[in-house]
Assembly symmetry: C2
Homo-oligomer: 260 residues x 2
């Protein structure tokens, strides 16, 4: 049964808005916010625990089957007014579907398959980059993402850019990327770190057999010296302006070379 | 000499806002709007005719040398108040630099080098995708972009995502992509069109020597049948979910394969 919420001062709505906008609130409440028919559906299909599902009256009429499917999986479901929808919606393309899901237990270093291919992100700041990397990683069949610092994978912007891939792909967050790399290297994985430096080995010449972790650095500062010291430096040869290859594009080409 | 503008109802400011937001107004006035220190500087360096340069007081104090450099190239330069800055700024990262530049004469099919490598975009709708493709194309040394329909290359969002590459890279707009492809194919260029279909030739097996045009289709509908009928179908082999590779990532991998 769906309960109506017409007021923007409803406590559940206020709480959802706070969870959408704050990483700290997500950690405190153990929940994250998704928006859009596809993402809400992906969460339900992937087996995330949906605490609350909100759908606008208009969206319910237009996409009844999808809404009923999600509502069936959700603990609480609500039909919301246009006012409430405007309050909840971060984007113009939310289609009137929103949900609050429970965070899953994080993946850890113990989940890493030493014969897999991983992309590691060192302090990536832009959630759109994180999302784009996840989306491409899933398409290409990458085993998972290893991440230190940077933006929150549960930010609505990262989730949107990932188009559901961040709900499915293993993301291993670590306190210290260099400790993690040292451990993985000790277990036979090849460690590569990308750089625009000409002197680095061309990525087309790298040995891409067996287990690999390839590191993409922060958007402004690249890979840190500490991480470089543990890895072989590899470079994407460029004919044009090196500064023009952004982090998610460099990651796409690196992942492609690992998998091709 | 810099003139001060403190009022948001100033005609120049109203006109700049309109040019920023409307493709039609850009065509009528023959001008486009850029925002951000780097883009304004790139326009000056690349030799675009800068009709008006606007800089906030704060930005002028912080980046005096850059502001003076751009002002020297601009026909009219203005110091604007914070109110005006808020009116002009589409993004939060504009850094207080804005300019109105004259559109250049479009590149045409006659400018295409039959031995070059081109990426063709059929009706790409998202300016962020267009900008990202241009940025990667320049980094990888692609000869130019051929585009039919879709979003405007002079939209501030496309220009921002391109980080200056759309100011430098040849973009050939055409009325009919299939007519253009037929002409280029007749002049010995290889024509490839990307598709997620498994039956298409794997992109890793394609002959990438000589002049090539590789087509990326619309975000939702892919390449049109008309264009497919002129091209060899090529595919990026995927292990994961094919739907997860977005247009700009597919373009990045395709361009990389042409150049590697």
């Amino acid at each position: 049964m769906m309960i109506s919420i017409d007021s923007v001062s409803n406590e559940r709505i206020k709480s959802a808005v706070k969870i959408a906008s704050s990483n700290k609130t997500r950690r405190q409440t153990g929940m994250f916010f998704l928006e859009g028919l596809r993402l809400c559906r992906d969460a339900a299909v992937t087996g995330y625990e949906i605490d609350s599902f909100f759908v606008s009256r208009r969206a319910y009429e237009k996409f009844t089957e999808d809404a009923d499917f999600i509502a069936e999986k959700a603990q609480h479901s609500f039909i919301v007014s246009e006012l409430v929808e405007n309050k909840l919606g971060v984007t113009q393309t939310s289609q009137g579907f929103y949900c609050l899901c429970r965070l899953r237990e994080d993946f850890g270093v113990a989940d890493i398959d030493f014969s897999g291919k991983y992309i590691a992100l060192e302090n990536i700041q832009d959630p759109a980059n994180l999302g784009a990397v996840a989306r491409t990683a899933e398409a290409l069949g990458i085993s998972g993402i290893i991440a230190e610092g940077g933006c929150d994978i549960y930010s609505p912007k990262a989730q949107r850019a990932a188009m559901g891939s961040l709900l499915r792909l293993p993301v291993i967050r670590c306190e210290s990327l260099s400790d993690t790399l040292a451990f993985l290297g000790g277990n036979g994985m090849k460690l590569y770190a990308t750089t625009p430096e000409d002197s680095a080995e061309k990525i087309t010449l790298c040995d891409m057999t067996g287990g690999i972790v390839a590191v993409i650095g922060n958007e402004a500062n690249g890979v840190s010296d500490e991480v470089f010291s543990l890895c072989k430096k590899v470079t994407i040869p460029m004919l044009g302006r090196a500064e023009s290859l952004n982090a998610s594009m460099a990651a796409a080409i690196t992942m492609w070379e690992m998998m091709r």
